[in-house]
Amino acid sequence: MAEHVILVVGPMGAGKTTAISALSDIDTIRTEAVNTERDVVDKATTTVALDYGEIELSPNEKIRLYGVPGQKRFDFMWSILKQRAVGMIVLVKNDAEDPVGDLVAFFDEFREIHERGGVVVGITHSDLAPRPTTYEYQQIVAERYPSALAPVFTVDPRSRDQLVVMLSVLAANVDSRAMFLAR
């Protein structure tokens, strides 16, 4: 069974859950982070917002999509997943307080995925906040990571067509990179 692990990362509210449920063949498994009562009752339990979905490409080839929360305290989960990931979709919420800071933080954290496979950045909520523009984000990525040529697209995770474009570009990048490395 061939598997392609793809992480969907981004801050809370960026659209990870929406994106994974739009793309997945199976009913997505999602857990939510906030369970106030439980937190009060049982301080030892820490819940985490996690999404999981699958796309079956053939009976023996599957994409596994993991939505990974942004909170730093869950980075033990990231480190397990990122070793196996061939690609990553970074969702940035454009109307957040510091969307550029969010992008940079996720890029730093998951750099090795970029170096190994494909990273695609999706700017969400650009209907509510048109700036920064994709062009501005690309300048920032190019300055900070000169070797990274990450695609930056505007995306509304409620649009399956736009998500398919992002995932397609990720896959094309993975294939293209493998083609140039093959000998």
């Binding site: 392609h4 793309l23 796309i55 079956e56 490409l57 053939s58 080839e61 994409i63 523009t133 994709t134 062009y135 690309q138 190019a142 040529l149 990450a150 695609p151 930056v152 697209f153 505007t154 995306v155 736009q162 398919v164 474009v165 992002m166 995932l167 397609s168 570009v169 896959a171 094309a172 990048n173 993975v174 294939d175 293209s176 990179r177 083609m179 140039f180 093959a182 000998r183």
Partner: protein
């Protein structure tokens, strides 16, 4: 811009209009000062392109762009930085406009500013969620993201014919999304490998892009 009766000009009557606009846009990109370009045509509303903010205004959706606009004249004027023109109109990001002009301007000929055999690599991804594109075009852009290629090599690696690859290079170049190699470069090793196996070249679109192809088959997309 041209006398319409001149037979030399009429050799390519289908591309003259956008061709002159594309050439003007390309020159304007090389200028260090902010410029406003105005395109007037007998068939369409005036088109404004503001290079200081990378936006355009046209009272016409891009889906209604004529392939062969008649009687095109191009005007340019310097503008003040930090003081964008006509703030009351709804300006839009210019990538989709340039992508479409690049598609029509030269057909499958080489853009006037490109030279035969030059190698190009991607320097930024166009915002593909906002521009109409084909599966073949995604393959080509992703390929340019990993090496400097001529149009012929780009076609070879992606299973496209050379004129189609040239057209995509024209479109990306007009958008400033590809850069030429600084000097003579040897082709990437993968080119020689594919050339040595002609049967593989014919199937390059699926053999080099297996994961991508299976994903497109499953999820849809042209």
């Amino acid at each position: 811009m041209f006398a319409s009766g001149a037979s030399e000009v009429r050799e390519r009557p289908d591309t003259v209009g956008w061709r002159s606009v594309a050439t003007a846009i390309h020159s304007m990109r090389q200028l260090p000062m902010p410029m406003l370009l105005t395109v007037v045509s007998s068939d369409c509303e005036p088109l404004w392109v503001d290079f200081s903010t990378g936006r355009y205004y046209w009272e016409r959706p891009l889906t209604a762009m004529p392939e062969q606009p008649g009687g095109v004249t191009v005007y340019s004027q310097p503008i003040e930085a930090g003081n964008p023109p006509y703030p009351w109109v709804a300006w839009r990001a210019m990538d989709p406009l340039l992508w479409q002009i690049g598609r029509y301007a030269f057909g499958t000929d080489r853009a006037t500013w490109m030279r035969p055999g030059d190698r190009y690599a991607l320097q930024r991804w166009p915002n593909l969620t906002e521009i109409p594109h084909s599966t073949e075009e995604i393959r080509m852009i992703a390929t340019l993201a990993n090496g400097y290629l001529t149009a012929q090599e780009l076609g070879l690696l992606t299973g496209a014919d050379e004129p189609t690859a040239q057209r995509v290079l024209n479109m990306l170049s007009l958008m400033g999304a590809v850069k030429p190699a600084g000097g003579p470069l040897a082709p990437p090793a993968v080119v020689a490998k594919v050339q040595a196996e002609p049967q593989q070249a014919a199937a390059a679109s699926t053999s080099n892009f297996g994961f991508f192809s299976r994903l497109r088959d499953k999820m849809g997309g042209r």
